[in-house]
Amino acid sequence: MTATRNQAYAHLSRWILLVLLGLYTIYNLGPILWLMISSLKSRADLFAMPPKLVFEPDFSGYQSVFGVGAARDSASSVGVFDSLMTSVFVSTVGTTVAVFLGTLAGYVCSRFEFRGKGDFMFFVLSTRMLPPVAVLVFYHMMFARLGLADTWLGLVLIAVFVNVGLATWIMKGFFDGVPKEVEQIAIVNGYSRIYAFLRLVLPMVKGGIAATAGFCFIFAWNEFAFASILTTTRAKTLPVKISTASGATGIEWTQICAAGVVLIIPVLVFFYLIRRHLLMGMTFGVLGRR
């Protein structure tokens, strides 16, 4: 009797769990699905009431995002392609520079004691804690004076700025996981520290570098606050463009939705590529030195 009752309870709680998970999934993925469908609808289909579930796919949004076909130069084009290029360039270069600097700084912080190290580490971390909005105005004035406003270089500097602290901290963690004996054996045997760093330690933190790069890329790619204020026309990143895209014929919803989908893709691809490293990277710090 009780056995069947328990079974019934188990059954019920399982169903409740499934329903909750289903709702959660819809809550999370619903907007993305909606976005993807909308990116393929023509203007007329988009505003049809009731919403059309079956429709003729319209690729003009994607054509203008990638700058192909007639859409590129049409009157309704709002220059999403240029923004995509800006975003790709800024995120890639910004990530590369931030990871490069973060790796060097992380190694130094992991291996060497120097005066004010604790303060330095805190300062580095504090650059991440700062709410961007608080200092936006001053950045804007500074960048305008230096001629960096609305340039790719300015955006790269911002991408480096928002990421280098994070990269330093993550990489320090990975270097802490490499026993210092790795270099000591090399030094005792007559190799230089530079050699030990480049040829022995770096290969041991490959996964860490990949994970760090992934995080930095995504932060740079998604960066909105600084980019929205510091760029006006020539160097708009994709997130900024999406928020402001309007053309001669009003707001280009199809293009915006297509751009939104494109915005999501690199994030998915990046995490898919480094998923193994990422798992390893996450557990590496936990497992520590053994």
Partner: protein, 358 residues
């Protein structure tokens, strides 16, 4: 091969004295084991000899030549650490020949040496594999092979066996001792495991609180410990300690009724004039059927073939060996006179007793 000398070596980290005025001379080909609790300065001394840590003051000499200013790579030393520090992205063979590559040794010579060392350590089947594929014990073998491949003058081993399974450790310990004698390389070995030290060392350097407590052969440090610390640190189960109280006719154990008389005491001990502590190893504290002191036995237990008993004196629990015949009676406690050691209660230094049994 090299003689090593430490003269008034001190090492400070800020306000902390890690090594405090240490003097030691190590002979060519000698196997010296640094023994002591963690944080006693033994590893720091080893690293100073390697040149990985700078001496704050004092000299380090190799064959009479001061090496303080020499870089680690100029000292012709090899090291093995507790945590296996192989390079995971290099094969076993590449790991082993790593020290030779740095010196630009000729290819044929590298091959010859690799052949020799893999023979010694029986690593022939593993050469093409990566460290990750080997169990920790085998990895440490590779680390040892890497250390000896270039005939170092000094071999520095920092707890090389601590991270290895008990079973494999015995085997490795035996092999290591054998290899050291075969190569005749001056070896300094750091451990906190007194059994490792006792079985491997030509001489043990016992350290505590940044200072050397005693330097002696394993036997001597066991039978003639310099202090209470040395007596307790070496030997298992560890030495019993009881304060002695002078009474008429001898010395009483704590607040018990047991009085050690003239027959059991070395001459002169009664006249020491200062508080004395007795140290006695369980094997010299026996529960017997014959003559002895009447004491209330707390507990008896067996560890394999050996039987032990315990009794209390005040707060202290003392442990001895049970020598009664099976089914024997109450038993009496006998203190083996040769095994009694007497320490000054304040300084902890041994003032009488001890010595190797005839």
């Amino acid at each position: 091969m090299a003689r090593i000398e430490l003269r008034n070596l001190s090492i400070r980290f800020g306000a902390f004295k890690a090594v405090d005025d240490v003097n030691l001379s190590i002979g060519d080909g000698e196997f010296v084991v640094y023994l002591g609790p963690s944080g006693c300065g033994k590893t720091t001394t080893l690293r100073a000899i390697a040149g990985l840590v700078d001496a704050t003051s004092g000299d380090i000499l190799f064959d009479g030549r001061r090496v303080n200013e020499l870089r680690p790579s100029e000292r012709n030393i090899a090291m093995v650490f507790q945590f296996v520090s192989l390079y995971p992205h290099l094969t076993i063979a590449e790991n082993i020949v790593f020290p030779l590559r740095a010196r630009g040794v000729a290819r044929a010579e590298i091959a010859r040496k690799l052949d020799w060392v893999t023979g010694v350590f029986r690593l022939g089947d593993e050469l093409r594999r990566y460290p990750g594929a080997l169990p920790p014990g085998a990895r440490q073998k590779v680390a040892l092979a890497r250390a000896v491949i270039r005939d170092p003058a000094v071999l520095l081993l920092d707890e090389p066996l601590s991270a290895i399974d008990e079973q494999f450790r015995e085997e490795m310990r035996w092999e290591l001792g054998h290899l050291q004698r075969e190569l005749g390389v001056t070896t300094i070995y750091v451990t906190h495991d007194q059994r490792e030290a006792m079985s491997l060392a030509d001489r043990i350097v016992l350290m505590n609180h940044s200072k050397i407590v005693q330097v002696a052969e394993p036997d001597r440090i066991f039978f003639e410990p310099a202090s209470v610390f040395a007596g307790q640190f070496i030997g298992s189960p560890s030495m019993n300690l009881v304060d002695l109280v002078p009474v008429a006719g001898g010395l009483r154990l704590g607040d018990s009724t047991v009085v050690l008389g003239a027959a059991e005491l070395p001459s002169g001990i009664a006249g020491h004039g200062r508080p004395v502590r007795l140290g006695v190893r369980p094997r010299d504290l026996r529960l017997v059927d014959g003559e002895g002191h009447a004491l209330a036995v707390d507990d008896t237990f067996a560890v394999g073939r050996e039987r032990f008993f315990t009794f209390r004196i005040g707060e202290a629990i003392l442990q001895g060996t049970d020598h009664r015949r099976a089914g024997g009676g109450e038993g009496r406690v006998r203190f083996v006179p040769e095994g009694l050691m007497f320490f000054d209660a304040e300084s902890g230094l041994r003032i009488a007793g001890g010595g190797r049994p005839a």
